[in-house]
C-alpha cells in the first residue's frame, strides 16, 4: 500500500530528506566522501530556512561528535553524518555519547578504512565501532535508508541509546532509486517532540554529566548500559510497528527472503542483500532451495532470532564486507558461529570476505557462493574462509 509520494532519490538525498522532515535542533558535521552530500544538502535546507536546525560546520569529525554530545546533553534532538576516516576520528566520542546515553542519530555511509586510502564501499568503518554501544542499522537501498533514519530518531530517544544508520558508499549513497517519501506532517507527527528528563539547559535543576566513575561505580553504570542495550531490541521492533502504520512498510531485526523452506542460504548486509535476492530468485526457478537472511540490526545482534531463522538450514554462507584482522574470519561470521555454539549446533558455515575497497560483487559471484554451498550441503569440504573476487 503506497502511502507517500513517489520520487527519485539517491541514498544521500533520501537521508537528507529524512533529516529535513525530522527537523532536528542541531546538526554538527564535517565533510567526507561519500557522506558529504548528506550534510551539504542539509546545509542548503538550513540556508533556505526549510528547517529550524542550528547547523554547526565544525573543524573535524571529533568536534562534530563532541558538539553533538554537547547539544544532545543540553536537551536537543541532534544528528550528524560521516564515513570511514571521519568515523574513525569520532571513535573516542562515540563511546562517550553511548556511555552518556545520548540519543544522537548518525548517518554512516560505509567506506573502506585507510590504509591504503580508498573512497569506496566496505563495512570496515562501521565494524570498527561495533562495540561502541551504538545501535547499528544497515540499509539495503535508498528507501530503507530513508525509513531507517526516521525510525532511528524514535529508537534512540526511547532507548536512550545513540543510533548509526548505514548505507553502502556510492552503491546506495549515489545510486538513484525510486522511493516513497512520507508527508512532512506524518514524519513530524511520528517523531514527535523530544522531551528529555534531565538536560543542561534546565538551569533550575543543574546536572553534572560525564562525572568521573572509579572502581566503585563504573561497573554498575556499564551494567545498566548493557541492560539498556539488550532491551533496545524490543524498542526497535515497537518503533518498526508504529512506522508500518504510517508508511505501510514493515521492518524487523532482519529480513528473511525465501528462507523458511530454504536448505542453503546466504547471510548478507546492505546492498549485497539486494543482489542476492535476484540470484535467489534465479536459483529457485532452477529448483534449488536457496534463501537469504539480511541482518538489518547488527547491534544489538539479534542472536536468538537469527538462530531460530537459520537453524534448519543445511549450510550457510556468511558474507562479510570487512575483515576482522583476527587471523581467521569476518565479524558477521564470528557472531553467527558463536551463536550456534550456544545451542550446540555445528552447522557448516562458510565465510566469504568480499567487496573490500568497493570491489564489485556481481550476481555471478553470489551464484558461485550458492554453488559451493550446495556442494557443502551435499557433504563436500570447502575452505572455511574464502576471499571472493580478489586476484590471489
Amino acid at each position: 500500500m503506497a502511502k507517500g509520494n513517489i520520487v527519485a532519490r539517491t541514498g544521500n538525498e533520501a537521508m537528507a530528506e529524512a533529516m529535513r522532515q525530522i527537523n532536528p535542533d542541531v546538526v554538527a558535521a564535517y565533510p567526507i566522501t561519500p557522506a558529504t552530500e548528506i550534510v551539504q544538502i542539509f546545509a542548503s535546507y538550513v540556508a533556505d530556512g526549510l528547517v529550524s536546525t542550528e547547523f554547526v560546520p565544525v573543524e573535524s569529525e571529533h568536534s562534530a561528535m563532541s558538539a553533538c554530545i554537547g547539544s544532545s546533553a543540553a536537551g536537543g534532538r541532534t544528528m550528524t553524518g560521516t564515513s570511514s576516516q571521519g568515523l574513525a576520528l569520532m571513535a573516542e566520542m562515540l563511546y562517550i555519547a553511548a556511555g552518556l546515553r545520548l540519543p544522537i542519530v548518525l548517518a554512516v555511509v560505509n567506506r573502506a578504512l585507510s590504509s591504503p586510502i580508498n573512497i569506496h564501499c566496505d563495512h570496515s568503518d562501521t565494524m570498527m565501532v561495533r562495540d561502541s554501544g551504538w545501535i547499528q542499522i544497515f540499509s539495503e537501498n535508498s528507501q530503507e535508508a530513508y525509513d531507517n533514519m526516521i525510525q532511528a530518531v524514535k529508537i534512540a530517544e526511547k532507548a536512550a541509546i545513540p543510533v548509526i544508520v548505514t548505507t553502502d558508499g556510492f552503491i546506495i549513497s549515489h545510486g538513484m532509486e525510486r522511493i516513497e517519501i512520507l508527508d512532512d506532517a506524518d514524519v513530524k507527527n511520528f517523531v514527535g517532540e523530544y522531551k528529555p528528563k534531565d538536560y543542561l539547559l534546565k538551569l533550575e535543576e543543574p546536572i553534572t554529566a560525564g562525572a568521573l566513575d572509579l572502581t566503585d561505580y563504573y561497573f554498575e553504570h556499564k551494567r545498566q548500559q548493557i541492560e539498556g542495550f539488550k532491551a533496545s531490541k524490543a524498542v526497535i521492533l515497537d518503533v518498526a510497528k508504529e512506522f508500518a502504520v504510517i508508511a505501510g512498510r514493515s521492518y524487523g531485526l532482519f529480513e528473511k527472503y525465501r528462507l523458511d523452506d530454504a536448505e542453503i542460504a546466504l547471510v548478507a548486509m546492505g546492498s549485497t542483500a539486494g543482489t542476492t535476492k535476484v540470484v535467489v530468485d534465479e536459483l529457485r526457478q532452477k529448483g534449488l532451495k536457496a534463501g537469504l537472511l539480511k541482518p538489518r540490526v547488527f547491534r544489538p545482534f539479534p542472536k536468538e532470532e537469527i538462530l531460530e531463522a537459520l537453524k534448519k538450514l543445511k549450510a550457510i554462507a556468511v558474507m562479510d564486507r570487512s575483515d576482522s584482522m583476527n587471523g581467521h574470519e569476518g565479524p558477521l561470521c564470528a557472531e553467527i558461529k558463536a551463536a550456534f555454539y550456544d545451542i550446540g549446533v555445528n552447522k557448516p558455515v562458510l565465510n566469504y570476505i568480499y567487496g573490500l575497497g568497493g570491489r564489485e560483487i556481481r550476481p555471478e559471484d553470489i551464484a558461485l557462493v550458492f554453488s559451493e554451498l550446495s556442494e557443502v550441503a551435499g557433504g563436500k569440504e570447502k575452505p572455511k574462509v574464502s576471499y571472493l573476487g580478489v586476484r590471489e
Binding site: 560546520p57 571529533h62 563532541s66 554530545i69 554537547g70 541532534t78 539547559l201 568521573l212
Partner: protein, 317 residues
C-alpha cells in the same frame, strides 16, 4: 565587583572537592563562576579540575556541567550553545545563559588547540577559560607547550645532560588575539578582582571570548601550598605572566608597580631549583632576557594598537 556583596552569593563551585591543598585551579573555577552567576552552563576538559570536582556520586558544580573528553571542551560547549541558538530561534527558550568552557593548558594549548580554534572561528557566544598551570598535572607533571623553558617536568626532566624543557612556551593568548575575537585576556590566581572583572566584561560581550588564567600548582611547581596566591602575584610582578586584555584589538596592559627580577619568582619553585646552580647561570640570564623582551613586545603592541585604534573584525553571528 563588591567583595561584601560577593560573599553573600551562593557558591557555584563548592568546597569538598578533592584538589590538593592550595590548588589554584579550584580558585579559578570558583572565582569565574562567582563572576558569571548561576545562569551558566559549564563544559570542562579532562584534567585536574574535572577529576577533582566530579568524583561520582559527588559534584562540586552547582551549575549545569558537562565533561566529555580531554581535547574537546570548546567543541562540546559549541554544541550546547548551538542548541541554545536553535531553541531561541524556535522561541522555545528565552533565558540569557553564559556558556563557559574550562580547559587546562594541556587541553587547550596542545591536544585541544584545534577544537578551540574552530570554536573561536565559528563565532559561538562562549567564554573559554584556560586554567594554565604550565604542565599536564593530572597525569603527573608532564611538559606541555605552555611549560616555560628550563622547567623540570617528568617528560622533560632535569638530568645529567638536560636542563628541563629546552623550548620556549607557546604564546596562546597571542594566537587567540590573531583569531580576531572580540575579547582575549590574561589573568592570574591571586588577583581575584582583576579576574572577576575580566570574566564579567567578557560575558557582557557577544561572541567568542578567551581568558588565559595563570594558575600556580603547588604540586607540579613544588612550592608551599599557602603561597599559591603569592606565586600568582609574583608572576605578574616579575612579568613572567603579564596581565592584559585585548578588546576588539585594543590592548590594555596592567603594569606591575615595580618590575621585579624573574629569579625572585623562579627561586620559590622546586621545578626551577637547578637554574640556581652556578653552571646554569647562562640559562637563568637567558630567561630574564626573554622575559624582558616579551614584556617590551607587549607594551609595543599596546602602543601600536592604541595609535592605530583599528577595531578587530566583529565575530558574532
Amino acid at each position: 565587583m563588591n567583595i561584601k556583596e560577593v560573599v553573600k552569593r551562593k557558591e557555584l563551585f563548592t568546597g569538598g572537592h578533592r584538589a590538593c591543598a592550595g590548588c589554584g585551579a579550584a580558585i579559578v573555577a570558583r572565582q569565574v563562576l562567582m563572576a558569571a552567576g548561576p545562569d551558566t552552563v559549564v563544559a570542562s576538559a579532562t584534567g585536574c579540575l574535572e577529576v577533582v570536582s566530579t568524583i561520582f556520586p559527588y559534584t562540586a558544580w552547582n551549575v549545569p556541567f558537562i565533561h566529555s573528553a580531554f581535547e574537546n571542551a570548546a567543541a562540546t560547549i559549541s554544541g550546547v550553545e548551538a542548541l541554545y541558538r536553535s531553541w531561541a530561534r524556535q522561541k522555545k527558550y528565552d533565558k540569557k545563559v553564559n556558556f563557559i568552557a574550562f580547559g587546562g593548558d594541556g587541553g587547550t594549548y596542545d591536544i585541544g588547540l584545534q577544537a578551540l580554534s574552530g570554536a573561536m572561528e565559528r563565532g559561538h557566544n562562549i567564554l573559554y577559560v584556560c586554567y594554565n598551570n604550565e604542565a599536564y598535572m593530572n597525569t603527573g607533571v608532564q611538559r606541555s607547550s605552555a611549560t616555560p623553558i628550563g622547567a623540570d617536568t617528568t617528560t622533560a626532566p632535569v638530568g645529567k645532560v638536560q636542563k628541563g624543557k629546552a623550548q620556549y612556551r607557546k604564546d596562546l593568548t597571542a594566537i587567540m588575539v590573531a583569531h580576531g575575537i572580540p575579547y582575549a585576556a590574561q589573568a592570574v590566581v591571586g588577583n581575584w578582582r582583576d579576574l572577576t572583572n575580566k570574566v564579567e566584561k567578557a560575558l557582557s560581550i557577544e561572541g567568542p571570548k578567551f581568558i588565559n588564567v595563570f594558575q600556580p600548582c603547588r604540586l607540579g611547581w613544588s612550592y608551599k601550598p599557602e603561597l599559591t596566591c603569592e606565586m600568582g602575584r609574583l608572576a605578574v610582578d616579575t612579568c613572567a605572566w603579564p596581565l592584559y586584555e585585548v578588546t576588539n584589538g585594543q590592548y590594555k596592559v596592567t603594569r606591575p608597580k615595580e618590575k621585579k627580577p624573574i629569579a625572585e619568582w623562579l627561586k620559590l619553585q622546586g621545578r626551577f631549583a637547578h637554574l640556581f646552580r652556578p653552571e646554569n647561570k647562562a640559562l637563568l640570564d637567558q630567561i630574564q632576557a626573554e622575559t624582558d623582551k616579551a614584556w617590551e613586545e607587549l607594551l609595543r603592541k599596546e602602543n601600536i594598537a592604541s595609535q592605530a585604534a583599528a577595531p578587530a573584525q566583529p565575530k558574532s553571528i
